[in-house]
């Protein structure tokens, strides 16, 4: 409790900290609400700026952006029928039909209340589970960390949707990029091709800014999309207690699902929102109403994706393993402050960890306030032409990356990985898998090699440790599950094709 009081005093005692939480929520909602920008880009672009602040303040900022962006996606999903972020894709299914019926304010209110409730639930789960999990993780040795990293890579490839082989390939490209530089054990340079700048490896922050932010701008410019008409004349109307009460089953179930799915390494808010939506349909007495403007069709994905935010912070803070692509990017933000997340962080830097808990709670409350008061202004963001937004993001990418170390090489790395990001997207290789691979690569490599040394180079002994075996087993199950899902989908396609041919 004293740790909480210390963190609370730290946050409330400084107006700057409160301003940072406020700013980060607004920044997050803006980035979340503009289609194509997403919370990941919001977090990535803010990382260089955090260099000027204390590590606690940096995490306040990044956590607040994550919270704000997850809700922000629903604004454009409801008013624009274009989800601002992937996790809000489900919200559009019922949010936009409700807005078209002239109930945009009500739809936004349900999304907002569900997001805040789910977010608060997820943060409570984080507060309750992260410390004991970190305590438990103190027993983890290199084999367990290796198995966790493998679980993260296989889970994102299997559950992320699309081709599993392409998901795995993207993850392996990330792992491959992480091999560049000095070998962590023997000290021999790898893949430097005589360039001394590469001995320290490829800097993580320029890579993520390039693959997410710059690649997004280039792709969007290529698409040449013009802005659609958005409904901007809207005022948020929060649901009554009676209405919330009628959705309590959906809200509770989705929040629990969100926190659990978010906590799985490599799986994030998008998966949580889709599963919660399908569960809401399954449990509903009127499944036929979904897709036509059903309130529970908004409440389920919104409570789940916001609850997943807290859930995905659990493996990051307790184990040092990112629970989602956004937390993988946040991990990059921590490294520039010299912070190594994991069980020892929870022991040695309690103020930092508990500040994150409290700030995320505050961010959810602030989000409620801003959503009610300022949704119409956030909706106006959607009308800003991309001709100024896109180039401004490029400038922020360049300036932010230069600000890290004051050198042009980092910018060259960022530009190169911008091209890599564009190519991966164009070829439908998931960029999130690439980033997870890049982040988990060094952890997996070092853990595997150290683990083998400890076990006397015996693979059997390495894999027979109970937690390692369990995690590796889960990795295998997630892969099999993914391949089985793809096989089922392919079979359904073939059957539909055959039926169409027979009908002809």
């Amino acid at each position: 409790m004293s740790a909480y009081m210390d963190a609370l005093t730290y946050i409330v005692g400084s107006p700057v900290n409160l301003f940072f939480i406020l700013f980060s929520v607004v920044w997050g909602i803006v980035f979340g609400s503009v289609p194509g920008l997403t919370g990941i880009v919001g977090v990535a672009l803010l990382i260089p700026f955090t260099y000027a602040f204390e590590s606690e303040q940096s995490l306040l900022l990044l956590g607040g952006v994550y919270v704000g962006a997850t809700f922000g996606g629903s604004i454009s999903a409801i008013l624009f029928n274009t989800p601002g972020s992937p996790e809000a894709a489900c919200t559009a299914l019922d949010g936009y039909p409700m807005a078209k019926k002239g109930q945009a304010g009500r739809a936004l209110g349900i999304a907002l209340a569900s997001s805040a409730l789910g977010g608060i639930f997820g943060t409570l789960v984080l507060m309750l589970l992260a410390p004991p999990m970190a305590q438990f993780a103190l027993q983890f040795g290199p084999p367990e960390y290796f198995a966790l990293a493998i679980l993260g890579i296989t889970a994102i490839a299997s559950i992320g949707g699309g081709s599993i082989l392409k998901g795995l390939a993207a993850g392996f490209i990330g792992l491959a990029v992480a091999t560049v530089g000095l070998d962590p054990i023997t000290g021999v340079g790898r893949y430097t091709f005589g360039n001394n700048m590469l001995l320290t490896g490829i800097s993580f922050v320029p890579v993520i800014i390039g693959t997410f932010a710059l690649a997004e701008v280039l792709t969007r410019v290529g698409e040449g999309r013009n802005s659609k008409e958005a409904i901007t004349d809207v005022s948020t109307k929060l649901p009554s207690l009676k209405e919330l009460g009628s959705m309590k089953g959906t809200l509770g179930r989705s929040s629990v699902l969100g926190a659990i799915i978010g906590a799985l390494p490599g799986v994030g808010a998008t998966t949580a929102s889709f599963i919660s939506y399908s569960e809401a349909v399954r449990w509903s007495r009127h499944p036929e109403r979904f897709g036509t403007g059903e309130p529970e069709g908004i409440a389920a994905p919104e409570s789940a994706n916001n609850s997943a935010v807290g859930g995905s912070m659990i493996p990051l803070l307790a184990l040092g393993i990112p629970g989602s692509a956004t937390t993988a990017v946040m991990l990059g933000g921590l490294t520039i402050h010299g912070i190594v997340p994991g069980p020892l962080l929870m022991e040695q830097n309690t103020r930092l960890v508990y500040s994150v808990f409290i700030s995320m709670m505050l961010a959810n409350v602030l989000m409620l306030f801003f959503g009610v008061r300022a949704a119409r202004y956030f909706a106006l963001v959607l009308t800003v032409p991309y001709a100024v937004v896109g180039p401004a993001i490029v400038v922020m990418c360049m300036t932010g990356v230069y600000g890290l170390n004051g050198n042009m090489v980092d910018i060259a790395v960022m530009l190169s990985f911008g091209v890599v990001g564009v190519v991966l997207k164009a070829m439908r290789y998931p960029v999130a898998s690439f980033i997870i691979g890049l982040v988990l690569g060094p952890i997996a490599e070092t853990s595997l090699r150290q683990g083998l040394m400890i076990s006397g180079y015996s693979y059997a002994e390495f894999a027979s440790r109970p937690i390692t075996a369990l995690l590796l087993g889960l990795s295998l199950v997630s892969l099999i599950y993914g391949f089985w899902g793809r096989w089922k989908a392919a079979r359904a396609d073939r059957e539909a094709e055959a039926a169409a041919r027979a009908a002809e």
Binding site: A52, A387, V388, P391, V394, M396, T399
Partner: protein, 167 residues
């Protein structure tokens, strides 16, 4: 060139690169102390598995391509060259900005980049495109140089001297 061919070429290139990088790893210097987990240990696992996965994707792509051609007589529609052209034009502008960023400094390069990029893209009123560039450049300079104390490129020669007067 169709989308399927591009897919096959890309996965094939990744396959070839994986093999090449595996061979490079094979030639890394060895250290007898860590013989069983030497420098090449992890890269060989990564590039070996990557070759396997990308090889499978290539086979899959080639099979789909052949099946589609056999069924329809022609393959899937080709890539959107107009989109690639727009992307390449913006990419070239970004590279030019990168060069100017280091040589003429942040202020002038950003001002010029924002104007050119805004007029290259179709949407938005003209007045906004004109006003946005100087306002955003000054705002970012103030935030970086005065609020956050982070470095901004100053350029070389006369541009360096000019920047010293401003930030």
């Amino acid at each position: 060139m169709s989308r399927r061919i591009l897919d096959a070429v890309f996965s094939g290139a990744l396959f070839a690169l994986s093999i090449w990088f595996w061979l490079i790893a094979n030639a890394f210097p060895t250290s007898p102390r860590y013989a069983l987990i030497d420098t090449d240990f992890w890269p060989k696992i990564i590039f070996g598995l990557m070759a396997l996965i990308t090889g499978l994707i290539t086979v899959q792509n080639v099979r789909t391509l052949l099946r589609e051609r056999a069924a329809a007589g022609s393959d899937a529609p080709g890539p959107d060259w107009a989109a690639i052209g727009r992307m390449a034009a913006m990419g070239l502008l970004v590279v030019a900005y990168f060069v100017a960023f280091g040589r003429i400094g942040f202020l002038l390069s950003t001002l010029a980049f924002l104007w050119i990029a805004a007029f290259m893209l179709p949407s938005g009123p003209r007045w906004l495109k004109i006003v946005f560039s100087p306002v955003f450049t000054v705002l970012l300079t103030v935030v970086f140089a005065y609020v956050l104390g982070l470095p901004l490129p100053r350029g070389t020669g006369v541009f360096y001297d000019l920047s010293l007067m401003l930030y």
